[in-house]
């Protein structure tokens, strides 16, 4: 870890942070790298501000307002009550007032008012309306890339205003005028050209999986397989590509493989759909998100699978659970021929798609899996609810299953589990600080400071309960905490996946 050129925030004694006094401009120096020509061109956007960028921006805003009720209602409904002002982890960690959800929305709202409302057209000074200038546009760029679209503010807003929707609209408009973000847009190119966010080609994937099979057999003596592109398999597993290459992600991949093995399931990975992640979500462009999602549908049709299961990834699960049926017809209840084609192929006895945690918990309840919990006894575990799983999706049949199912799995495979402060988990969970397209080194200061509320609550259970393992179900959370833990004096080996715990305790024959 290079020495940081910014101050690392200090822990506080209580698990829940005090609200800082505002410090204007505290984070205005942070600007994520702007995307270059090739990525922008591939995604169909310009790569520099043209002469008429302002007209284009306003035009795009008008289109978004017609297509998205969320944006229209959210821009109108805010009363500036202040309920959200202390809810964003980036505000709590940076004290920059433009990181308060309402102020982040206001960056767009003031422009919306100026060009689309009566008050703003005729009395701009009265209602806080402002012309769209290059300065405002730069503010958009900075602060719409200091939002992880985690939806925590939407839980606490009396009207359910979700800043993520505004951030997404803001990024879409920025892209449209030629100010895309390098990190997210290059990933969107890689996933469409190569098949995954890491840009990992098929043969490399094959090698990796073969290597993992050897490792598992050497470790357990059991020939657990990780099949790739196996036609006629019952289950297609779609997982974030980090699971193939990164630590600790790969430990969870081994965990999924062991679960499938123990259940005697016929399953496969796909080289075409070797990525569950869909950064189209972060950019708020429906068509891009749909194109990326179509890879899954294509792979499912090509391999003829009956079930689709998604690995540990937060935003991927949001897209899979909430959007796949809309975007690609994976799910049920579609009356159009387009979605019915796929729906005929899928097995109606199971929800489609299914989360790997739903699958594993189901098997545990049926008594199919056997565990030696004591193998996890060296770990004292806590669980971090990932934002997109917690507030934008579900597991199981009951609301809130996304909170109980992963915890149930942990309790079934390990003896030592402690939850963090109730104000920092469940629907109130704090983002890891690296979600929504912020997981890039050029935003390290934002990521470290944004992680403070979560790190502070984590530190509290470390002090009180001796916790030494943070269990996760999100590839971004895993990558973010691995990177950020050392800044706060923790060892990165304390970070891991829920299926890593499953992997440790599962008994194979």
């Amino acid at each position: 870890m290079a020495a940081p050129d910014f101050e690392i925030p200090q822990f506080q004694e209580h698990a829940v942070l005090d609200i800082p006094k505002i410090k204007e401009g505290a984070m205005s120096h942070i600007k994520s790298f702007v995307a270059g020509q090739s990525a922008q061109e591939y995604l169909g956007y310009p790569w520099e501000l043209g002469e008429n960028w302002k007209e284009r921006a306003i035009e795009r805003m008008g289109e978004v307002l017609k297509k998205y009720r969320s944006v229209r209602v959210f821009l109108d409904a805010c009363v500036h009550c202040g309920a959200c002002t202390d809810k964003c982890h980036y505000y709590l960690g940076t004290a920059d007032p433009k990181n308060m959800p309402v102020a982040r929305q206001e960056l767009m709202r003031k422009v919306y008012r100026r060009y689309f409302t009566f008050g703003g057209k005729y009395f701009p000074w009265l209602v806080g309306a402002e012309d769209l200038t290059e300065e405002v546009l730069n503010d958009w760029y900075n602060y719409y890339h200091e939002c992880s679209e985690c939806r925590r503010c939407s839980v606490f807003c009396p009207y359910g205003i979700d800043t993520a929707e505004i951030t997404m609209a803001g990024r879409e408009i920025l892209n449209y005028v030629g100010m895309g973000q390098k990190y997210s847009n290059e990933i969107l190119v890689k996933v469409q050209k190569v098949g995954n966010n890491l840009g990992l080609p098929g043969p490399a994937l094959e090698d990796t999986l073969a290597g993992l099979e050897e490792d598992i057999e050497a470790d357990t003596g059991v020939p657990v397989k990780l099949p790739l592109d196996q036609k006629g398999a019952e289950i297609l597993l779609v997982t974030p590509s980090a699971d193939f290459f990164s630590e600790p992600h790969v430990e969870s991949l081994i965990g999924y493989a062991k679960v499938f093995h123990a259940a005697g399931a016929s399953w496969t990975l796909s080289s075409l759909a070797s990525e569950a992640g869909n950064f189209g979500l972060f950019n708020g462009n429906y068509e891009t998100m749909r194109k990326v999602a179509m890879r899954i549908r294509d792979a499912a049709l090509e391999l003829g699978v009956k079930r689709i299961i998604v690995g540990e990834c937060g935003h991927a699960w949001r897209v899979a659970y909430s959007y796949w049926n809309t975007l690609t017809g994976i799910g049920y209840g579609g009356e159009d021929p387009y979605s019915q084609m796929l729906q005929k192929q899928l097995d109606h006895r199971y929800p489609q798609p299914m989360h790997i945690c739903e699958y594993t918990w189901d098997l545990i309840q049926k008594g199919v899996l056997k565990f030696d919990k004591s193998k996890n006894d060296h770990r004292i575990i806590t669980f971090h609810d990932s934002c997109n799983v917690a507030r934008a999706s579900r597991m199981g049949n009951e609301p809130g299953g996304q909170f109980t199912i992963p915890r149930n799995i942990i309790r079934a495979v390990a003896n030592n589990f402690y939850d963090m402060d109730p104000n920092t988990i469940g629907e109130s969970t704090y983002c890891c600080g690296g979600g929504g397209g912020l997981l890039t080194d050029d935003l390290m200061e934002v990521r470290v400071k944004g992680a403070l509320p979560r790190m502070n609550a984590f530190n509290a259970v470390v002090q009180q309960n001796g916790v030494n393992f943070l269990a996760l179900i999100c590839a971004i959370c895993k990558a973010q905490f691995t990177k950020v833990f050392p800044y706060y004096g923790f060892d990165m080996s304390m970070v891991g996946g829920v299926h890593q715990l499953v992997s440790t305790a599962i008994e194979l024959d």
Binding site: V73, C78, M100, E287, A392, E427
Partner: protein, 245 residues
């Protein structure tokens, strides 16, 4: 008929038209704009009945606000429910004979005005005292509070200090409703009160007061959490699909 009566008569017709027409147009706009994706803030109800229950908790108890900030919740709830009782009490000026439950609410409605004004002053104080709220407050936020406090206080002056000619006022209001115009009592508090109410009605459809209809259209609160069971698709997205098929 006095000039004053004519001005207020015209003012109220204009205000009513703007209020109803403007609001209807906004609601039409919200209805017409699709929500292309399923974005309920979860955990969310899995049935429509559940959504009605969730929305009712939001509208009646301000559930999310309660989770969020107890001070805003206390003042906001005092104001809104004070206002509701006060409005219900005012039904008596629009009908003859008066419904029994409006009669019943009359004393409560009178004192609810204190709830209303205390709530407003509390919310206003936060705009000065809390640095975060001060940062986000615009001139129109202060003016809106001033307007509502003005309406409340001028009304209370007539209820508790200097009574106005209620019988003549009621004749004026019924006259407006049945196009049989009657003189308006030239009482300063009444004129202030009615003038401010007319302003409120006129700004309603072009201001943040749109939070009232807005909440019912908020996709994060009004959607059913059933994306795996039912395919949800917006008309423009379906058209896109046909184009690319």
């Amino acid at each position: 008929m006095s000039t004053l009566t004519i001005i207020y008569t015209v003012l109220f017709y204009v205000a009513t038209l703007v209020f109803i027409g403007g609001l209807a147009y906004r609601i039409y706009e919200y209805t017409r704009t699709p929500a292309p994706l399923k974005i309920p803030t979860t955990p969310a109800p899995t049935t429509s009945a559940g959504v009605v229950y969730r929305m009712a908790r939001e509208v009646v108890f301000f559930e999310s606000l309660f989770k969020s900030n107890k001070w805003i919740w206390v003042f906001g709830w005092l104001f809104h429910f004070g206002l509701l009782l006060v409005l219900l009490r005012h039904i008596r000026y629009f009908q003859e004979p008066v419904w029994f439950w409006v009669e019943f609410l009359q004393p409560y409605g009178k004192y609810a005005s204190f709830m209303m004004v205390v709530g407003l002053l509390g919310l206003w104080a936060r705009r000065f005292l809390v640095d975060r709220v001060r940062y986000i407050s615009t001139p129109s936020d202060h003016l809106m509070l001033a307007l509502l406090v003005g309406i409340g206080v001028s009304g209370m002056m007539m209820t508790f200090v200097a009574h106005t000619d209620i019988v003549a006022l009621k004749a004026f209001v019924l006259g407006l409703m049945f196009f049989d115009w009657q003189p308006l009592p030239a009482d300063p508090f009444l004129l202030i009160h009615l003038g401010l109410v007319a302003v409120l009605m006129i700004v309603f459809p072009v201001s943040k007061l749109l939070h009232a209809p807005g909440i019912f259209f908020s996709p994060s609160r009004n959607q059913v959490d059933n994306p795996r069971e039912r395919r949800h698709i917006a008309p423009w997205a379906a058209a896109l699909e046909r184009e690319q098929a």
